[in-house]
């Protein structure tokens, strides 16, 4: 869809020449995200205030132009690729931390604040914001909210939906609104805050977020356990999650991934085993030994091969070696890896991993599985080494999703849907549920201008 010139004139009025670009270089720079998909927008704007965003949405609505809000484009699903052209609004310049309020355990931020920058600013106050995607140093809070992005800590501290008190936003109608509260409890009407979180910019454009903060635990202890097979590791995960000392990370790596990391970095001390769990426990110094011991007790059991507890920072680094070597190892083998983040109930993890092994063999595709076992959230990475394998990988993927749904799981734990998983939504959700989601979309964005072509099939 080409941009009508009257809209471009209006955008220049709203943003001024320094915050509105329609040259090819700028459009190219905002055509893609971390999904490696791309599509050219007609213009790029850089909002710095709420009123500007209201004017922007109204202008796009008047001209029926698509509007894609983006943070830093670190999402893996194509959620910020402007597939229908139109305007990309990059929030990278709307990045002020407006308030840190330790007494009320909250921070108010603009959407362009980087997750890592917020965490740094919170340290002095003794707090943190739990969502910790591995892209934390360069991903924005706005993007985290759009995708309900989480990370290892979610197992203990929850996702953005559990850690956001309120939002300011502009609906697809062009109307600005506030939802949620400045308090940690609220029962005043419908929960629009959580509805917007995870909606990938299809309902409204967020201009401010009030985040719930958590006091920073003063100490952390790291454990590594290897198991004979995935079954034994999954049973240990269930045991760990059934006792009160919930770890702040409970990460799983399957045997295929361990072998890969081991071969890539032979000197890094990566253990070979059927499966590995990385476990972190946090707390106050007085309480930590008992909590770590409770978790270690639960980690022990049939099929445990070795349990190591790090005694200092150097040993902690060493224990994480396998996980650290994993990403570069995958990139070396398959620069074009397909990175999924399916979730199943924790007790179904063995069936999931066994099923993936079967599908990998059947489709002749290399697949490694690792991720946030405490939430049953596995990164199932298909690693095609050539074009033919890439084609087989895509066929295999559909069966992976079918398997996940069969196991009472769902398509995404923390990456969202975007373009990549949109065709599979009818597999995961009933027609009636999808119908209600479409009705909600219609309520917020009657002309369908916000991030068209995403999330809902």
């Amino acid at each position: 869809m080409p941009l009508h010139s009257p809209l471009l004139d209006r955008l220049r009025e709203i943003f001024g020449p320094a915050a509105c670009a329609a040259d090819e270089a700028s459009r190219l720079a905002y055509a893609y995200d971390n999904s490696r998909l791309d599509a050219l927008p007609d213009a790029v704007v850089f909002p710095t205030g709420h009123a500007q965003v209201e004017a922007l949405v109204r202008a796009c609505r008047e001209h029926r132009a698509p509007l894609v809000a983006r943070g830093r484009g670190s999402n893996t699903t194509g959620a910020t690729v402007p597939v229908a052209g139109g305007v990309v609004a990059s929030f990278e310049r709307m990045n002020r931390i407006l308030r840190i309020d330790p007494d009320n355990r909250l921070a108010v931020v603009e959407p362009g604040v980087l997750n890592g920058d917020l965490q740094k600013a919170l340290i002095a106050h003794g707090f943190f914001w739990p969502p910790d995607p591995s892209s934390a140093p360069w991903c924005s809070i706005g993007g985290n909210l759009a995708c309900n992005a989480a990370g290892p800590r979610a197992v203990k501290y929850g996702t953005p939906r559990e850690n956001t008190l309120g939002l300011r936003a502009v609906a697809g109608t062009g109307e600005g609104f506030r939802c949620g509260t400045w308090t940690s409890k609220g029962a005043t009407g419908y929960d629009l805050t959580r509805l917007l979180i995870g909606s990938e910019g299809t309902l409204a454009v967020v201009t401010e977020a009030t985040l719930k903060l958590t006091p920073r635990p003063s100490a952390i202890r790291t454990l590594r356990a290897t198991y004979r097979d995935v079954d034994a590791a999954a049973r240990a995960v269930a045991r760990i999650m059934a006792q009160p000392a919930t770890p702040c990370a409970l990460e799983f790596i399957d045997g295929v991934a361990l072998r890969l990391a081991h071969d890539y970095a032979p000197d890094a001390g990566v253990p070979l085993a059927g499966a590995l769990l990385m476990i972190e426990v946090d707390g106050e110094p007085d309480a930590l030994p008992a909590a770590a011991e409770a978790v270690a007790r639960a980690a022990r059991g049939d099929g445990l091969e070795e349990l190591r507890i790090a005694r200092d920072a150097v040993e902690t680094q060493a224990l994480w070696s396998a996980r650290k070597a994993l990403s570069p190892a995958q990139r070396t083998i398959a620069p074009d890896k397909i990175n999924e983040d399916v979730v199943v109930p924790v007790s179904r993890l063995p069936e999931l991993v066994a099923g993936i092994k079967r599908l990998a063999a059947q489709h002749d595709v290399l697949i490694v599985s690792f991720g946030h076992a405490g939430n049953g959230n596995l990164h199932v990475n298909l690693l095609p080494r050539d074009a033919a394998e890439r084609e087989r990988a895509h066929a295999c993927l559909a069966e992976v999703f079918a398997l996940v749904v069969e196991l009472d799981g769902t398509l995404s734990g923390e990456h969202g849907i975007g373009i990549a998983k949109r065709p599979f939504m009818p597999l995961a959700l009933q027609p009636s549920t999808l119908g209600l989601m479409r009705a909600v979309k219609q309520a917020f964005d009657p002309d369908g201008i916000l991030n068209p072509g995403k999330l809902l099939p």
Copy 2:
């Protein structure tokens, strides 16, 4: 609105004579709830399954008859009073615990299960479901979800919105649907689960809930601190909430309430002070002393008069005496008490309590304040002792809500809106926010049959 006879015939078909009543005695029994407001329904039905509820909603929609779903009617806002007549669906017979699944930290329940019954069933598995309204022994999970009802434990463990994974429900269209997940993480489309929680039966009728369970801590320690004045107590609350050992209860009682409880039960050992905090810390036996000490340290400071730590169950009982005496004391003075549950940011508690004191004097109304200080959620109880004071109390209430909103607070923390607080919604929410809520209502319930006259003004 009189019930058309064809609808009654249809209801008898769906439910059979034993689960459908239109006699006056039955209608009277379901005319009121704990708000002491009442309005007669035209019929009462007792669903026992999802398909039946689908048929019920379809029949009501076809006949444009209001439908009010209710649990045990323990809400205080009139949320289940059938103000427009029509059909009341009481879920008291749809009360099976369908599954307790410790490995996946979840329970699947029908909406009529009593909160207390679920808690009892979970003990054997070492788990609990955090929401703990004081009505827990006789209130239903469905009602808890409808109102986002919480209780003291919310300060550490959250409300139903943080403790529910998924729902099965029937929208106002008559279509059944599932939303949410059976996993502790999910980023697959819009969060309809949280949207339904707290919607007071105005969007859909819940027929099944998948609840997130928390491992039961093995020990608990109780502290009681008295302070010179409310300011000193509020500063202690902020200090307690700013350190990592979050208590599982942090309850506040103001000086007026203490005096009331003291005079009602002179021998119960109720202390007289400017304000009192009841604090509970839970955890594992090894970790508990350190956590209790951290909380005690934070509780100490300028204005502390006395800090007691219970050494056993008898002492714990004694410490809770003031709180225990408070409810009967209020009932004795004012059987017609007006019970609100406003919330403000924790740091604004002193301003709220000072403002309430001012309004109480100005309107010549007895007001006591107590409640969940860790969430800034105070029960502001107006205790009119005669008809004239009752009139003054209602005038005063509007100013209490205005004060709360001025302090960045909101109308309700855990009771919801119902009829009682509906006129005040425009005070708390912008017209644009209310407009979006109305559009969401329209999306779920296009004919406005579900619990009309509630929540949205």
